[in-house]
Subunit: 160 residues, 2 copies
C-alpha cells in the first residue's frame, strides 16, 4: 500500500540513499538533491522547492521534487522524481506524479514542465513520461554535454 | 568609446536603474536581477552568477549576467542582457555578447544558451540573437504564461 506525504525530516536519509543508489544519477545530481532538500526542510519559504515522499509499508521508496518556475505564471518544474529500483514498475512513479499534479493544481499551477536527457540510458525515463501522456515539446542538442541533449516534456493541467 | 569590465559594486545602482527602465522587464524581473547581482557582488562563489558592465564615457550603459548551467558540462546560460534604450542600436549589445563569449570560452564553456519570450514585444530581442548568428533551437508553448512561449537560442563556441 503506497502512501504519499510531504517529505518529513525523518525521510531525509532514505531519500538521499534512494538518490545515491540510482544508476542514472551522478554525484553532482545527488549533491543538488541534497541542497534542494535542505532548502525545503529548513527554509520557511522552502526556496521554492517542494518534496513528496512515497512510502510502501512505512518505508520511503520514492520521492519527487517540484516547484514554481521562477518568472512564469503558473508553470511548475518537476525537478526530480526517483523510485527505488527494487520498487519500480509497480505504479509508484505514476502515483507520485499524480500527487504532484494535484499539489500543483491546488497551487493554481497550469503547466508542468520536465527536463530530461536524450541519452539512450534515459529511454525508460522518456517512455515513462510519454506513457502518462506528457508531451515532448522541445529538444536542445548538446545541452548537458556533447551528444547529450535536453529533452523537454510539458503537461497542461485541467483548470478547476 | 565602449569599455566592458566585470561589474563592480559602484555599478549596482546604475544597473538596477537600467533594468527598471527597460519596458520589457517587470518588477519580478528586476527583483531577480537584484538578487543575482547581490550574489555576484557578495558571495565568494558568486552563486554561479557573473556580471559584466559596459561603460560609455565612464557611464554604465548596459550589463550582462551569465553563468554555468548547473548539471551540464560546459554549457553556460546568458541569463540577462540589457542595454540602456537611449544607447541601443550602437553595437553595445553585440560588444557585450562578444565579451560574454570570450569569458565563457576562457572558462572552458562550449555552448551558450539563451531563453527568451515568443511574444511579439520580444521580436527585436529575437532578431538581435538571430542577427548575431544564435540558433533558435526550441520552443515551449505557454511556458511563461498562456500564449507566452519560451524560445531557446543556442550558440556553439569555437574551442581553442
Amino acid at each position: 500500500m503506497i502512501a504519499i506525504r510531504p517529505t518529513a525530516p525523518e525521510d531525509e536519509a532514505a531519500i538521499l540513499h534512494i538518490a545515491s543508489s540510482e544508476p542514472l544519477f551522478d554525484g553532482d545530481d545527488v549533491a543538488c538533491i541534497r541542497e534542494l532538500l535542505t532548502d525545503y526542510l529548513t527554509r520557511p519559504d522552502h526556496n521554492g522547492y517542494f518534496f513528496l515522499t512515497a512510502h510502501d509499508a512505512g518505508r520511503p521508496v520514492a520521492f519527487a521534487c517540484y516547484g514554481p518556475t521562477p518568472l512564469t505564471l503558473g508553470t511548475f518544474d518537476l525537478y526530480w522524481i526517483c523510485v527505488d529500483r527494487t520498487r519500480a514498475h509497480r505504479g509508484v512513479g505514476r502515483a507520485l506524479i499524480q500527487r504532484v499534479e494535484q499539489e500543483v493544481t491546488q497551487a493554481h499551477g497550469r503547466l508542468i514542465v520536465v527536463e530530461t536527457s536524450g541519452l539512450e540510458s534515459y529511454a525508460p525515463t522518456r517512455a515513462f513520461y510519454e506513457g502518462i501522456g506528457y508531451q515532448r515539446v522541445a529538444e536542445v542538442p548538446d545541452f548537458y554535454g556533447p551528444g547529450d541533449s535536453l529533452v523537454i516534456y510539458a503537461h497542461h493541467l485541467r483548470t478547476a
